[in-house]
Symmetry: C2
Subunit: 153 residues, 2 copies
DNA sequence: TATTGTTATACTCTATAACTATA
DNA sequence: TATAGTTATAGAGTATAACAATA
């Protein structure tokens, strides 16, 4: 145990710095902040970016498919789509084959916003590559993907 | 662009899987879920664990020092410490040298809860090491630490 | 019966402004 | 004046239960 007198911030977290969860969380916050800072004009948050990108790349997918792909709850997608629809970025189109489902499409305005966000994201990823190197970036993604399938307990 | 008909979840996120931010977030959620699942008895969330651990390892540090170390807002620490105090885990002791500050200490009960949480965290980290290997784990932490200092813009 | 989208709700995490008491 | 802790508040993110319409 260390005396608290004169303790500096870096010292206080020494034990936590060896914890994957802690370092992972701090890095994730920094990356998201950089993602936000990279935006110009209309600001799209990471979750919104993911939704717009998947709709843009897979026009006509249903809300349920989108939720399963991004691991978000159906109930939580509703408000985001309501906002995108009110901004004229996304259209919900009744599915002809299944009267319960709605297919999602980007409007021209939505495609433009997505395009700007993609440009910003490229600058953002370029800063990450500058920090890690291309090889380090690839290693990081591989290591993170291994964590996504941790045994349930 | 891919047809949405018959699209599977894994297909829909193909573009995002190359994004560090997306993979990082998904991994962070999985790691935190595993951290929670590793607990037995009293459940401590990751943020609570960090607070208890830093107090336990650096008894007598002030709330402000704790906040700077963990990058949390002073205002947001108050409720957590109120809860810990009401549970008898933490004591706030007026600082003799600075009448504004309060020094933090774990009670015996708090130390016991922390000890159990540390045991759980060791099992949690062991699962991570099993998934990544010791070398992969070290590489991951190094790569993540480089992301924590991304240029502001 | 089961599923899709929806509503309502609640809890956690985070952020800002303003207050108080001290320095 | 500046700082430490606090209060109040608001915005995101996430989770569950229940409902209507449809399968």
């Amino acid at each position: 145990m260390t005396s608290a007198s004169g303790a500096r911030a870096a010292e206080l977290t020494r034990e936590l710095e060896a914890s994957v969860g802690y370092v992972l969380r701090r890095a994730q916050l920094a990356v998201f902040a950089d993602f936000i800072a990279s935006q110009s004009g209309a600001v799209v948050r990471p979750g919104q970016f993911a939704v717009l990108l998947v709709i843009g790349m897979h026009a006509g997918l249903t809300q349920n498919q989108l939720c399963e792909a991004l691991a978000i709850k159906r109930a939580n997608l509703v408000a985001m789509l309501d906002e995108f629809e009110s901004l004229g970025f996304v259209r919900r189109v009744p599915c002809s084959r299944d009267g319960r489902a709605k297919r999602l499409h980007l409007s021209t305005a939505g495609a433009k916003v997505l395009s700007q966000a993609v440009d910003a994201q490229k600058r953002h990823e370029a800063r990450i590559t500058a920090a890690l190197g291309a090889i380090g970036r690839r290693q990081l993604i591989d290591l993170l993907n291994r964590l996504r399938t941790l045994p349930a307990s």
